[in-house]
């Protein structure tokens, strides 16, 4: 569940982290999976020169698109409409859900089959439709497993990565009556059979969008299982939901993005399927939906877009590499974040989607090690954005005042005073030296406990003489 109303999200984060860290299978599953994914990416992008020039290109494709985002969206809308796609604009998750529901009702639909879509997770669409009596069934294998377990995805590319084969086997046995088996091929085949029937019966197919090309009105969908193609071609109606940032200018802009997306995500040179959708079924065509809808979801993005620095967040192409390489994500797993998007991208994106205070602990939960930015295919400076969010959270800069709606929500007079005191000393070298001297002497009577630090470490021991003292001594003896 996302934390829409939970103002104690900061506190909840710590509890979830504690649970995750104490959960040995979770830790083992993530460690193993992330090690594997890091290795695959490294192998797929071995040629560092090619990799770096591609990243530069991809970053520029995204920057160019974002610089013209408003125009491109209008262009996309016009082009899609001219090709027979119905375009809708949703300001927030609620409105997007209502638009999906309205289409369902219009078509008297009972079941919706879904390809993988993180935006639909963001909308909590399945829940919304269920309340309206409409069944939404996930067809991506990982999403299917997560749905069986009544969980949420723990990773944006591999939703069920927190489970190992044994756990999946057990789950499918309990929920669908399959044999207990560690044979991945058998389990996959079972799921495939179960899903095939559902495709035939579904009234509507709903998918996400990886890239939308403004110039040609093409919706691109990247997938491996063929479920995306079935979702968008078997039911008589296809609804595509996409975040408004997913648009690019030209068809050729897709090439570098796709090439980096698959290699960054899973180390694949290309996925098994790449779907390009530009119109409903034409009279001379044998398959495809009669009706295609595109829902453009804002949900906080347009607001985020207005800040030139924070806007970089919208470059993201959702490859998941930042979480695969994140030492924090690897330890705590995706669910501990309590957000739709976990990991580094989640930390910088969620405050704009579900509120800053609702995601209070996220910006500080990073060592700023930079592993995310190092691998990000579109070169989002994630650590810099995290620092920016920390500044926003404490309203810490008078020259560049904070701009976010909940700016300064984390500022406490105690912490502010402590930093002021520190700054006061650090601008007065004499006082500062006295203070460090006190710290040095103080260590003899200071308890060997410094709260959180000393739970797993010894307290640092100041040296008998500071370096500046040693230098003074040396200069005197000359």
């Amino acid at each position: 569940m996302t934390l829409k109303t939970d103002h104690l999200a900061g506190g909840q984060f710590y509890i979830r982290v504690q649970d995750a860290l104490a959960n040995a299978p979770i830790r083992a599953n993530f460690r193993k999976a992330m090690d594997g994914l890091m290795h695959k990416r490294a192998t797929a992008l071995e040629d560092t020169q090619e990799r770096e020039s591609l990243r530069e290109l991809a970053a520029n494709v995204r920057l160019r698109a974002l610089a013209r985002l408003p125009e491109l969206l209008i262009q996309l809308e016009k082009k899609c409409q001219s090709q027979g796609i119905q375009v809708h604009w949703a300001q927030d998750a609620q409105q997007a859900c209502e638009q999906v529901l309205a289409i369902c009702q219009q078509r008297q639909a009972r079941t919706v089959i879904k390809g993988k879509s993180m935006v639909s997770e963001e909308m909590e669409l399945n829940h919304f439709l269920a309340e309206a009596g409409i069944e939404a069934l996930e067809s991506d294998l990982g999403e299917y497993i997560v749905q069986l377990a009544q969980e949420t995805p723990s990773h944006i590319i591999m939703p069920a990565i927190h489970k190992n084969t044994q756990q999946i086997s057990q789950l499918m046995h309990e929920k669908t009556g399959t044999q207990l088996s560690h044979d991945v091929a058998y389990l996959t085949e079972c799921a495939r059979q179960q899903l095939r029937e559902r495709f035939q019966q579904a009234d509507i197919g709903l998918s996400g969008v990886n890239f939308a090309v403004a110039e040609t009105g093409t919706l691109c969908l990247v997938e491996n299982e063929g479920n995306g193609r079935l979702t968008t071609s078997v039911p008589s109606c296809h609804i595509a939901v996409m975040g408004i940032e997913k648009v690019v200018e030209h068809l050729e802009d897709v090439t570098p993005l796709l090439s980096l997306l698959t290699r960054s995500a899973t180390g694949q040179a290309i996925t098994t399927y790449f779907n390009m959708i530009s119109r409903p079924r034409q009279p001379d065509e044998k398959d495809g939906p009669e009706v295609v809808h595109l829902i453009l979801v804002d949900n906080g993005r347009a607001h985020l877009y207005q800040d030139p620095e924070l806007r970089d967040t919208l470059r993201c192409i959702r490859c998941g590499a930042c979480m695969n390489h994140c030492p924090v994500y690897t330890r705590i797993g995706g669910h501990a974040y309590g957000t739709t998007y976990p990991g580094p991208i989640g930390k910088i994106l969620m405050p704009h989607l579900t509120g800053f205070a609702n995601n209070a602990a996220l910006p500080s939960a990073s060592t700023l090690c930079g592993a995310c930015a190092e691998v990000c295919p579109v070169k989002i400076p994630i650590p810099d954005i995290l620092v920016r969010l920390r500044r926003e959270a404490v309203n810490g800069d008078q020259i560049n005042p904070s701009v976010m709606a909940e700016k300064g929500f984390k500022r406490t007079w105690k912490e502010a005073l402590a930093w002021q005191l520190w700054a006061y000393l650090a601008q007065r070298p004499r006082l500062y030296q006295i203070a460090t001297k006190i710290a040095r002497l103080g260590h003899y009577w200071m308890p060997q406990s410094l709260g959180a630090w000393t739970q797993v470490r010894t307290a640092p021991r100041p040296a008998a003489k500071s370096l500046s003292q040693l230098r003074r001594d040396a200069e005197k003896s000359l």
């Binding site: 710590y14 860290l21 974002l66 610089a67 408003p70 125009e71 969206l73 604009w89 949703a90 638009q99 219009q106 453009l296 804002d298 347009a302 806007r311 970089d312 470059r315 030492p327 924090v328 330890r331 705590i332 500080s364 939960a365 990073s366 060592t367 090690c369 930079g370 400076p381 810099d384 920390r390 500044r391 926003e392 959270a393 404490v394 810490g396 800069d397 008078q398 020259i399 560049n400 930093w419 520190w422 700054a423 601008q427 070298p429 709260g451 959180a452 630090w453 739970q455 797993v456 470490r457 010894t458 021991r461 100041p462 040296a463 003489k465 500071s466 370096l467 500046s468 040693l470 230098r471």
Partner: protein, 275 residues
């Protein structure tokens, strides 16, 4: 149902400034200078003065005069990463006057060098000090990087055979891009066998205030890092005091036989006759 673009959604800002491309400024190594400014950093000053002395001695051995401004305090990084940029700026600016002549500024810390080199320009953007901050940033070098690339340091090993694992800080590795420096310097030492620990590029979990704000995650990380280093060798060296304090502190607390040392101390010690 079929809504048009204009009715439902708030208008987007059509003339918002285009996003800026974060590009790394090119680092230019100067010719070997007569003098350098030595910025010790607060952790070296207070906890690891030996590392600072070793750095100074290595520089002096190169015939470089080391200017040590006695009124230096801190680069401002702790406040900066905590979001208190007014305070970070005030403290950073208090250091500007320490370096009046155009000599390079060297630091025995990747993390503080990263702060001054990569973040000062942006921290002082839109202030009267902008040009000054940029000029200072351009003169900042992490000390081992400076020794290797500016001084062309050649080390002669005087010590006994030893196995050593190197832990390069994330700021040295990713912010400054100098992960190869520690490796190259260690590999110059004939009797030192450098063993690469597992997942060598992974963060040790220090992260400044992160270690106390998120102690559980930090603990999980330092635990793994310490284990990886022990599995490699009983002795490890590192370029940054934060990592050293974190990893060594954990090894001591859990009574693991792992001995840590600042890379500069190690390099100096190995090249002395009585090593």
């Amino acid at each position: 149902m079929h809504t048009s673009s204009s009715s439902k959604v708030a208008p987007l800002y059509t003339n918002a400034a285009p996003a800026q491309q974060a590009s790394h400024r090119l680092k230019v190594y100067p010719p070997k200078p007569q003098k350098v400014y030595f910025f010790a950093t607060c952790l070296v000053d207070l906890f690891y003065p030996d590392a600072g002395m070793a750095g100074i001695q290595l520089l002096e051995q190169q015939g470089i005069e080391v200017l040590y401004p006695q009124t230096q305090t801190c680069c401002g990084q702790p406040a900066y990463t905590s979001g208190y940029h007014d305070q970070a700026r005030a403290v950073a600016q208090a250091q500007f006057d320490l370096f009046p002549e155009p000599w390079p500024i060297v630091l025995p810390s990747g993390s503080c060098a990263g702060m001054m080199r990569q973040h000062y320009p942006q921290l002082f953007a839109n202030t009267p000090e902008q040009a000054n901050a940029q000029a200072i940033a351009n003169r900042v070098f992490e000390l081992t990087d400076f020794l290797l690339h500016v001084c062309q340091l050649q080390l002669k090993d005087e010590g006994k055979p030893i196995k050593v694992a190197l832990h390069t800080s994330c700021s040295a590795r990713r912010e400054l891009g100098i992960a190869h420096v520690g490796e190259t310097l260690l590999d110059q030492l004939a009797q030192v066998e450098r063993i690469e620990p597992k997942r060598t590029s992974e963060c040790c979990g220090f992260g400044g205030t992160f270690a106390v704000r998120h102690p559980q995650i930090s603990a999980a990380m330092v635990e793994d890092k310490t284990q990886a280093l022990i599995d490699a060798a009983p002795h490890f060296v590192t370029t940054d005091c934060g990592c050293l304090m974190n990893i060594q502190g954990h090894a001591e607390k859990t009574r693991l036989k792992l001995q840590g040392e600042h890379l500069l101390s190690f390099l100096w010690r190995r090249t002395q006759n009585d090593a």
